[in-house]
Symmetry: C2
Subunit: 429 residues, 2 copies
C-alpha cells in the first residue's frame, strides 16, 4: 500500500546547516521538507517554498522549480517528486556545497505571508472517524448512533472551495436561520450561537485521474501528494435546521482553515500504522480492502486542539490543550477515501482537497469538536483559568497541531492551523 | 429586482444580417446574443463567442474582447456588459457597416467544439422546485413529504465542479454500492441500475462577492451573469444507500452536463414573472423577501425533456418529449438562491454555478426526472414506439431544451443540453 518506504532522507542522524532545523522539537527538520506557498508583504504572486526549521527555502531562487504553480508540482510523477526531495535533502544537509548559494534563498517564515498551499479546485469532506460519527450520531439518534451504511461506505460530501482560508486569517461568525423556538414554526434569524471547530487532516491530491477512470486501492497512494491540518469551522445551530435532506451547507461554507505546509507522503513513510477496525465491524468490500491497507494504510499522526480565549491572551497565557487524538484511529485510510471517491468514475484534479472529517479518538475527552467535548452544549468545558465554554466565543483562537513521533526516527511536524473568531457583522434581523 | 429592463436590443422587429438568426423558431436571434466558449478541432485553447442563428461570432476576431477568458468577462461591471451587448446588437443588425469585417469572424456552430462555458470554481445545487421536493419526499416519507425547513430555507448543497461536462459529451454509467438485498446486511456493488437525469437551470455568477460580505436581495441580480440548461445525472440506487446523514455524493458527482450558451440576464429582461408561492406557504423571512422579488423575481422559461432510445435512433426517430415544465413554477427565485447562499458570508466567484435543482411542474406528468415520472420505477413510462422506461438504459440520449416565448417579443432560446449514456466499465464485483 504505502508507495514510499523510508530511505536515506529519513535517517534520524542527518542534520541540516540551517541550525533551527536541528532542534529536537522542531516540526520541520531535514527529514520533513514540506511544501507551501509564500509571498513578501505587498506582493500579489505566490512563490513555492519548502520549510526547513524556522526558515523556508524558495524553490525558484534555489534553482529547483522555475515557476510558482503548486498544482503543477503536485501533478508531477512520483519519480520527479522523489528527485526534488532528494535534491532538497542533499542541498540542505550539513556540509553541502550548496550552502553558500542557497543561504540567499532562505527566508524566515515569520517575515513572510504563508498562503493556502495551492489552488483548490474541489474540496470533499469525509466522516472517517467512527468515534466522531458515533458520538455525534448519539446526540441525534440515541437508539441508533451509527446508520447501517457507516460500516460499508466512506461517507463523504462536497464542501466549498472558495472559502478555504490560510491559517492565521480570522473567521467571522456567520448569520443564518436556526430552528424555530419551542412551539413556533417561524425560524430564528441572527448570528450563529453554536460556533464550533472541527479537527481534521486535509489530504491533497497529487496525480489526477481522468473522468470515468476509477483509481484502484493499490494505486491510491500514488495519487496522494501530502497532508495538512484542516479546521472545518461549523455553525451547529444553522446545521441542525438546514441539513435535511441534502446535508450541511451554510453551516460549513462560511470558512475552513488550512495549515500552510503540506507534509508529503514521502516524509510520512516511517509513520505508517495498521488500520484500527473494531472487531464488531465487517471487513470492507473488496474494492476497499487489501492486506497492505490493513497493515499500513493508516497514518500515525498525533493531533491536538488548543484554545486561547481573549482573557488568556490578555494574561499572557498560551492557551489550554482541549484534546488529543490520533489519525490512526480513523475507520478509513486515506487510500480508501480516495478509491471510494473515484469508484464511480469521479475525476480528482491535482490540488483537490479531501478532508478526513473530524478525527476524534475513542475516549470521550478525545472529541475533535466542542459539540463532542461539551456533549452538545450540555456540559460546558471548564478551562484552566476558570472560564467555561460550550461553543466558541468572539475572540477565541483555535489552534490545531499535528506531529509524528516514533523511537528511531526524527519527529516530523505538520506545524499549526490557527484561526480567531471575529464578531458577527452588525445588521438588523 | 430585475436589474435589466427591456430596451432597444429587445425590439421584436430587429433583424440580423445573419439570415439564420431571423427564422421565427431560432433560439439565437439578434435579441438573444448568449456567450460561450468554442475551439477549432485540434486546438487546445478556448475562444469566446456569441451565438447568432446557427453561427457564432468570435469576440476576439470581431475586435470586442481581446482574450479568451470567460470568467474575466463574467466579472465585468454591469455597464461593461451592457456596452458589449449593445455593440453586438448594432454590429450584427441588418445594414450594419460592420458586416463586411465581421463576416470573417463568423463560424458555423456545427463546425466547432463548444465547451463548458467557463471555468467553474464551485458548483452548488439547490432544491428550488416545491413540486419536485414534494413528489420525491412522498416516495421516502409518505406521511411528511415536505420537511418543516422547506418553507423557509432555500435548501442547497455543494456538488462537484470537476465532473461538469459539455453538452454532447457521453456519460458513463457509474459503479457503486447500493442497499443490501432484503434481509441482508452486506451492500451490493456493481453498475448503477437506476440511472436518471434531472432537468435544471444552471445560474452563472457574474460579479463576485468578498468572503464575509453577504449580498442583499436587492443586489442579487447584479451578481448573476446568465442561465444555461443543466442535467444533474443521478444514480438513484447509489443515492438511497449513501445519502444519510451528509447528502448525495457519488450518486451525483460522476457527471453533470451543461449547455454551451449562457443566456444573459439582460436578454431575459422581457421574460420576468411573479413568484408562484402557494397560499398555504408562509411569506419568506425578510432577508429573502421584497415586493420586486414577488412581482418579477421569477424567470418565465419553458422547459422540455426529450428521450431518444437506441431503437428510435436506428429508426430515424428524433425522440419522445417526456415532459414540459416552467422555471417560473419554482418556489425560490434566482435572486433568493444567491442571497441565501451568501447570507453567512460565503463568497461566490465569477463563473461559479448555482443549479436550481430539478424543475418539475405541479402536474404529475411535469416531473423533471424519471424518478418522478415513473413513480420511483413503479410505473414505467410507455414510449411512442412501444418501448418502456423506468430509468435510463445504455445508449439512451437525453436532451434538455429551454426557451422563452411571449406575445410582442422575439423568442429567446437556451439551445439544448444533450448527453448519451455509455455502458458501465466492465470489471469484477
Amino acid at each position: 500500500m504505502s508507495t514510499y518506504l523510508p530511505d536515506a532522507t529519513h535517517a534520524a542522524a542527518a542534520r541540516s546547516w540551517v541550525a533551527s532545523a536541528n532542534a529536537p522539537a522542531c516540526d520541520f527538520p531535514l527529514q520533513n521538507l514540506p511544501y507551501g506557498r509564500w509571498r513578501r508583504p505587498g506582493d500579489s504572486d505566490w512563490r513555492l517554498g519548502a520549510a526547513i526549521g524556522d526558515q523556508l527555502l524558495d524553490l525558484a531562487e534555489a534553482g529547483l522549480v522555475p515557476h510558482g504553480d503548486m498544482n503543477r508540482l503536485m501533478a508531477w510523477p512520483l519519480s520527479e517528486r522523489r528527485r526534488l526531495r532528494q535534491a532538497l535533502f542533499e542541498g540542505l544537509h550539513e556540509g553541502s556545497p550548496r550552502q553558500a548559494d542557497w543561504a540567499a534563498a532562505l527566508h524566515p517564515q515569520a517575515s513572510v505571508e504563508l498562503g493556502v498551499p495551492c489552488e483548490i479546485g474541489d474540496y470533499t469532506d469525509f466522516y472517517a472517524s467512527i468515534h466522531h460519527a458515533t458520538t455525534v450520531g448519539r446526540q441525534f439518534r440515541p437508539e441508533q448512533p451509527l446508520l447501517p451504511n457507516y460500516s460499508w461506505v466512506p461517507v463523504g460530501y462536497h464542501g466549498r472551495a472558495s472559502s478555504i482560508v490560510a491559517s492565521g486569517q480570522p473567521v467571522r461568525r456567520p448569520w443564518g436561520q436556526t430552528r424555530p423556538p419551542e412551539g413556533g414554526t417561524r425560524p430564528r434569524f441572527g448570528p450563529c450561537r453554536r460556533l464550533d471547530y472541527e479537527l481534521e487532516l486535509g489530504l491533497f491530491v497529487g496525480a489526477p485521474n481522468a473522468l470515468g477512470e476509477p483509481v484502484a486501492l493499490g494505486e491510491a497512494e500514488a495519487h496522494l501528494f501530502g497532508v495538512a491540518l484542516f479546521n472545518d469551522w461549523s455553525a451547529r445551530d444553522l446545521q441542525a435546521w438546514e441539513y435535511q435532506p441534502l446535508g450541511p451547507f451554510l453551516a460549513k461554507n462560511f470558512a475552513s482553515s488550512v495549515s500552510p505546509w503540506v507534509v508529503t507522503m514521502e516524509a510520512l513513510a516511517p509513520f505508517r500504522a495498521p488500520l484500527q477496525r473494531p472487531d464488531t465491524q465487517p471487513a470492507p468490500l473488496p474494492y476497499l480492502d487489501s492486506e497492505d491497507n490493513q497493515q499500513q494504510g493508516a497514518l500515525d499522526i498525533q493531533l491536538e486542539v488548543w484554545l486561547q480565549t481573549p482573557a488568556m491572551r490578555a494574561a499572557g497565557h498560551a492557551g489550554d490543550r482541549l484534546s488529543t487524538s490520533r489519525a490512526a484511529d480513523a475507520f478509513w485510510t486515506p487510500a480508501q477515501l480516495l478509491t471510494h471517491h473515484t469508484v464511480n468514475g469521479c475525476n480528482l484534479r491535482s490540488g483537490d482537497l479531501l478532508g478526513t472529517g473530524t478525527l476524534s479518538g475513542p475516549a470521550p475527552e478525545q472529541g475533535g469538536s466542542l459539540l463532542e467535548l461539551s456533549a452538545g452544549g450540555q456540559q460546558p468545558l471548564r478551562l484552566s483559568n476558570g472560564e467555561q465554554r460550550s461553543f466558541l466565543e468572539d475572540g477565541d483562537t483555535v489552534v490545531l497541531r499535528g506531529f509524528c513521533e516514533r523511537p528511531g526516527w526524527r519527529r516530523i511536524g505538520l506545524g499549526e492551523c490557527r484561526g480567531t473568531v471575529l464578531p458577527a457583522r452588525t445588521g438588523s434581523e
